[in-house]
Symmetry: C2
């Protein structure tokens, strides 16, 4: 099976199209890397790149990204609505096919060490790569933002995992880490009552006793006159879509409310959809290798 790791770096430039193009071109022209998506947000002044490849290609892509971003982004002159601490702010590695989170943790360490060495940027390992509980949460690391980091790093608890003890003058610091693929999944309910969506969100989310890999909240869709359970599935292999869907259905029924529909926002791995088909069709002995498109990818 061909290895596919996804990398979704966030860079602190979402306005200057020439800079964005130069940064994306650096990634696109890295051998073995496929750039799948670039989305820039002007009010956030931030761009998110999505690219895939095997581990060596991803390492080279990240290096090319840093080189181009550091040439063009100076955080001393950066403003935007989204909190940020680095010119390249965060670099997540996600196993998609033929790779595990553990392999992506190893990759994040190698990439982190290389970033520190080649570019002099302090690196914090986060999420599944974190070296302490505190650092697993990106928001914790990012607190204080670029402007506060020189002060923050004086605290020995915030010594970086790789690189110098002070932020890079123009590029700040970066968080690098492995995480599972995140699926944004919404379920719409045939009611205007936000309290019901909230109660169901509470029932399914990990924080309040629900599924381990579910984050959820109730959202009002005023223009459609309905409410929604808005969900982040942080590990669709261990907490699959269909299990959450059936749980929401059962909880909604208890309130006399039907499910209008559901929605996958953005990208999903094929496997998440195969799992739902497998469940409902009670497929026995099914393997993704039986899917024609899988065979084509493996060629």
């Amino acid at each position: 099976m061909r290895t596919i790791i996804e990398c979704v770096p966030n860079v602190s430039e979402g306005r200057d199209t020439r800079s964005i193009e130069a940064i994306t071109a650096a990634v696109r022209s890295t051998p073995g890397v496929r750039l799948l998506d670039v989305s820039s947000d002007a009010s956030h002044n931030r761009s998110v790149l999505t690219f895939v490849g095997d581990a060596p290609a991803i390492r080279a892509g990240v290096s090319a990204l840093f080189r181009a971003a550091l040439e063009r982004i100076d955080l001393r002159r950066h403003e935007g609505e989204h909190p940020r601490m680095g010119a390249v702010d965060v670099v997540p590695f996600i196993p998609v096919r033929g790779s595990s989170v553990d392999e992506c943790v190893a990759l994040s360490r190698e990439a982190g060490a290389a970033i520190a060495k080649d570019f002099g940027v302090p690196v914090y390992l986060y999420e599944d790569s974190a070296t302490s509980e505190l650092r697993s949460n990106l928001a914790e690391i990012r607190k204080g933002q670029f402007e506060g980091f020189a002060e923050k790093m004086k605290d020995p608890r915030w010594a970086p995992d790789f690189g110098p003890a002070e932020p890079h003058p123009s590029a700040g610091v970066v968080a690098v880490g492995a995480r599972d693929f995140l699926i944004a999944y919404n379920i719409d309910l045939a009611t205007k009552d936000l309290a019901i969506a909230d109660r169901i969100a509470k029932a399914i989310r990990h924080l309040s006793g629900g599924f381990r890999y579910v984050k959820a909240m109730g959202v009002e869709l005023a223009e459609r006159g309905i409410v929604q359970v808005s969900i982040n599935m942080t590990n669709f292999k261990k907490t699959p879509l269909h299990r959450v869907f059936e749980c929401v259905r059962s909880e909604a029924e208890r309130h006399g409310v039907a499910i209008v529909g559901s929605e996958i926002v953005g990208l999903s791995p094929a496997e998440a959809l195969y799992a739902a088909a497998e469940h409902y069709l009670r497929l026995e002995g099914f393997s993704a290798e039986q899917v024609l498109e899988t065979k084509l990818l493996d060629e």
Copy 2:
């Protein structure tokens, strides 16, 4: 979207590994063609190749196949359990991605004309490419087999669509045509009573009043002590898996019988599985373009 047409030719050689290897090598080395599978059956003395590509690549692959097969197969010395009429017996074209049955019908006409011209083999267009009702059924065309074809072709109703009015001395004739992707799908029932599987097969199959694109029969799985509804889904887009599954479930329930599981035999396009996930999760606005693997194929 990248065009993928599948071609699944059956050739009348399933014993001599050197000949089989020469024929598959000819296909494999055709630029733009990807050979996905070869399965040979010694008792049938027949091999089935599965390869994919866009229309020009498939045309070239078929031409390479004929050249190699005609050099190595002489039907005058061929015996095997499977009925056959040609060294290359049948060449179906199947739209998989970014192509329609109509485009595959056009491709079958071009390929058929080229086979007749380049190799002097009479060509019968069959299935969706058929020029008469009688010829849409491959079994009708094949009747009489290689040994009976010289006689059969004297009947003007059996004049070929392309090529000479007599069979090729060593290679016979060939059927070429477009058809939809066929999914072999079995549903297992928690009963030993074959009559129930037969009754359900009858309920779902086109022949006796069921779904238009379903062929089905009851089968006993003696070693497991259960029975099975064995199904050929001849157009999974118009008659989807989940609709047949739910119909079988409802019919089985009426006999007090549960579904043990189901099974896809061999290959399936990803779309057939996405459709089941879409149905049961009530997905709104879902597109295969949201699947990461689709993006990789489209690169």
